[in-house]
């Protein structure tokens, strides 16, 4: 049962205190329920904090106790603070006051009642006489189920600090916990000092729980059976595939409607602004640059929310830790850990949530390798380009078109795994963290915690979309829109003919001519703009792939987002854009070069297809890579490597198809 808001309860009933620690750092082992407590204490009043030089993050939030605001810092779960691991270093730095804005006034050590000895070891390493400490004892329900009985009051006496049993999932013990944090200052420093003597851990465990051994092993039989199934080479693989298929289905299907709503909302906003603002640079900037650009990113918000919500639920059940072992057998051959499978699968929907979900991976090198290769996996934005190019290549054969389509997905996956293997043996060379994971007990997921975690991720994503991605979109709009080209004479003539048709009452014909005039004007603008001129200058680089200047411009503008390829190329080739893929593909297949040969000949179309499978053409993904790795250096490497691989393989494809002289392209 949920409790009323903490602030109301705490301010009404907590005893008055002259002192309230303003910042409290929460320290605990992984899987002890620390974040559940944090979520219960802070609710939505929390945000993710990234500290300079650290790839690990903490969460900062606030709650009200005794009328005073307490700032809580949820440090990452650690087994010990002296380990050479990023999360241990972050804890060390925080406790030593080396992180700006993270010097705690007090500590809240969270200890799992079912594993008291390990919790006390951490307590001993972080407690010192200089800083007030309180202890939250979690998992007391599980301890009771195992036949353990731990009295927080006795533990409090043994530790010399306030100790309270609390459960973040159902909210029990939260109010006394806040009181304990406030009361921590009353502990004389010498009591804490005395509690860190040798053999103190064994003595304390023995006196509190009667010995270090677990009781109630009967309760482990179900866990044994589930573990045997979930980590079985065959059955475990099937369960994992079923779980991932469900997530994949949810990301693709359940997100469809909200994505359409976001698209429609942005389109409505664009048209409303365009209709109400005077035509000019400001209107174009707002409608095409800001809304047009940012909407292309925030449209993925439903997928991101669904992914993180489902992953949080799955992680909470205890299954995800077992799944990591199932996939580790396969992924380790490519230098990736088992946990990398979830981000790579998620990237099939969109690389943005895929990269963000790499936070599941504990080893920094493994995580970096996964981030760098995730965009190779074919995302949903590529589908439109695949459909168009495959339709041009195989207009008559649905079977071959389907095969080519599947081949695109296979090529992306192979490139991702091969790149991971190369990177892990070269620039990311080094031993991975040994695959040892604590397998948390199976339990029902915490819906509230999953929703809060999803909310947190959504806020991070939207902040990124509203800052870095917005800036990039505005720059891209500017180089595509300036300098302004004069309206071409051809467009003026077509417009004049449209006026004549209007005068004759043929409004339908006039409208068609006006659309044609607009296409001609857009084409002239594309060619005159900085991006267009750049395309002309860069065309010799792409000539070995069979690209002329129009295809080069289409490829260059696709570096903003690959899905713009279709609209750009239809404008440049002079065809009207249409929802009908077959019609657009048919018209593009007839387009010719200046020498009269086909623009989309089989060799060029194949090389374009390979290029679009492999190239990094998504600025939002680069921005998220920079954010998640803490450096634009890695984003630059990702861009350079993917572009180089794409170029090389596209060139090879062009040469091969050209040499074979196949009957691709419907034999035309």
């Amino acid at each position: 049962m949920s409790n009323p808001p903490l602030g109301a309860r705490a301010s009404a009933s907590a005893p008055s205190s002259a002192f309230a620690p303003t910042r409290v750092a929460m320290v605990g082992n992984p899987n002890v329920g620390k974040t559940s407590l944090f979520n219960r204490l802070c609710g939505v009043r929390a945000k993710t904090a990234n500290f300079p030089g650290s790839t690990v993050e903490a969460r900062v939030g606030s709650c009200v106790g005794n009328g005073s605001e307490i700032e809580l810092v949820d440090l990452p779960g650690v087994y010990a603070i002296d380990l050479e691991l990023p999360e241990s270093k972050l804890c060390r730095d925080c406790l030593a006051g080396r992180l700006e804005g993270c010097m705690p006034d007090a500590l809240l050590v969270v200890i799992d009642a079912t594993n008291l000895a390990r919790g006390l070891r951490l307590f001993r390493s972080v407690a010192n006489a200089a800083r007030p400490v309180a202890v939250a004892l979690t998992m007391t329900d599980l301890a009771r189920a195992r036949g353990l009985s731990i009295d927080p009051a006795r533990l409090s006496v043994a530790l010399g600090v306030p100790c309270v049993a609390a459960n973040g999932r159902d909210g029990t013990g939260i109010e006394p916990l806040v009181a304990a944090i406030l009361a921590a200052r009353e502990v004389p420093p010498q009591v804490v000092a005395a509690s860190v003597a040798s053999n103190w851990i064994d003595d304390t465990v023995t006196s509190i729980v009667g010995g270090p051994n677990s009781l109630g092993a009967e309760n482990d039989r179900l866990t044994d059976r589930l573990d045997a199934a979930f980590t079985h080479p065959v059955l475990g693989g099937l369960v994992f595939l079923a779980a991932m298929a469900t997530i994949f289905f949810a990301i693709f299907r359940l997100a469809e409607l909200p994505m359409e709503l976001i698209e429609s909302g942005c389109a409505w906003l664009q048209s409303t602004l365009a209709a109400n603002l005077p035509a000019g640079a400001i209107s174009s900037l707002l409608t095409d640059g800001v809304i047009g650009g940012v909407s292309g990113t925030i449209v993925f918000l439903p997928q991101i929310c669904l992914l993180f919500f489902l992953l949080a639920l799955l992680e909470d059940t205890g299954y995800l830790a077992r799944a990591a072992f199932v996939m580790d057998r396969i992924m380790c051959r490519f230098g990736l850990p088992g946990q990398a499978f979830v981000p790579l699968l998620s990237s099939h929907a969109c690389a943005l949530p895929g990269i963000m979900s790499t936070r599941l991976i504990p080893d920094p090198r493994d995580r970096l390798a996964t981030i760098l290769v995730a965009p190779f996996v074919s995302c949903s934005a590529r589908v439109g380009v695949y459909v168009l190019l495959v339709s041009i290549l195989f207009p008559e054969s649905g079977f071959l078109a389907g095969l080519a389509f599947a081949g695109c997905y296979a090529l992306g996956a192979i490139a991702a795994l091969a790149t991971a293997a190369i990177f892990r043996r070269t620039i990311l060379k080094g031993k991975s963290r040994p695959m040892v994971l604590e397998l948390p007990p199976y339990r029902l997921p915490d819906l509230r915690g999953a929703l809060l975690s999803t909310y947190d991720r959504a806020v991070v994503f939207l902040k990124n979309a509203g800052s870095v991605i917005l800036a990039i979109c505005v720059v891209m709009w500017w180089i595509s829109a300036y300098p302004k080209a004069e309206t071409p004479a051809e467009a003026v003539a077509i417009e004049a003919r449209a006026v004549e048709l209007d005068a004759r009452g043929d409004s339908e014909g006039a409208e068609a001519l006006r659309a044609e005039a607009e296409t001609v004007t857009s084409r002239a603008q594309q060619q005159q703009s900085i991006a267009g001129r750049l395309g002309g200058a860069v065309q010799p680089v792409f000539a070995p792939l069979g690209l002329d200047d129009r295809l080069t411009v289409a490829v260059l503008t696709s570096f903003l987002a690959r899905e713009v390829f279709r609209s750009t190329i239809t404008v440049l080739v002079g065809q009207g854009d249409s929802e009908d893929d077959t019609r657009v593909a048919g018209e593009l297949a007839q387009a010719t070069r200046t020498d009269g040969t086909r623009l989309f000949d089989p060799a060029t179309t194949t090389s374009l297809l390979v290029f679009y499978v492999l190239a990094m053409q998504c600025l939002p993904t680069l921005a998220v890579t920079a954010r998640e790795t803490g450096s634009w250096k890695w984003a630059a490497l990702q861009f350079g490597w993917m572009s180089a691989v794409a170029y090389l393989l596209a060139w090879l494809a062009y040469v091969l198809v050209h040499a074979l002289g196949t009957g691709l392209g419907g034999g035309a």
Partner: protein, 97 residues
């Protein structure tokens, strides 16, 4: 009466489900050993095998905690199987550090 523990050392991967054992020694690096020690798997602890395999993950139970170890890691941990009937008896035979 408890029989003396046989002086054999087996890699963790060679134990069977339900076996109890104590970590005898490991050929792990200092860094890896420190991680395992922090997780509770040190050279004094007794554990029960839930799943052992030389090709798949090994799962052991330490008190109330379950740890999953990759086979590469598990085979580098040498264990001394326990024959005594009581849980915790083998750990007590080890000198405390």
């Amino acid at each position: 009466m408890t029989e003396p523990t046989p002086p054999i050392r087996l890699p963790l991967t060679q134990l069977k489900r339900g076996d109890r054992a104590v970590v005898a020694e490991s050929t792990l690096s200092e860094e890896d050993r420190a991680v395992l020690h922090a997780m509770g798997l040190d050279e004094r602890c007794e554990f029960t095998v839930c799943r052992a395999s030389s090709s798949g993950p090994c799962i052991i139970q330490l008190d109330a905690t379950r740890l999953g170890l990759s086979p590469d890691l598990a085979k580098r941990i040498l264990t001394r199987p326990c024959d005594c009937p009581d849980s915790g008896c083998c750990a007590e035979e080890q000198p405390k550090q």
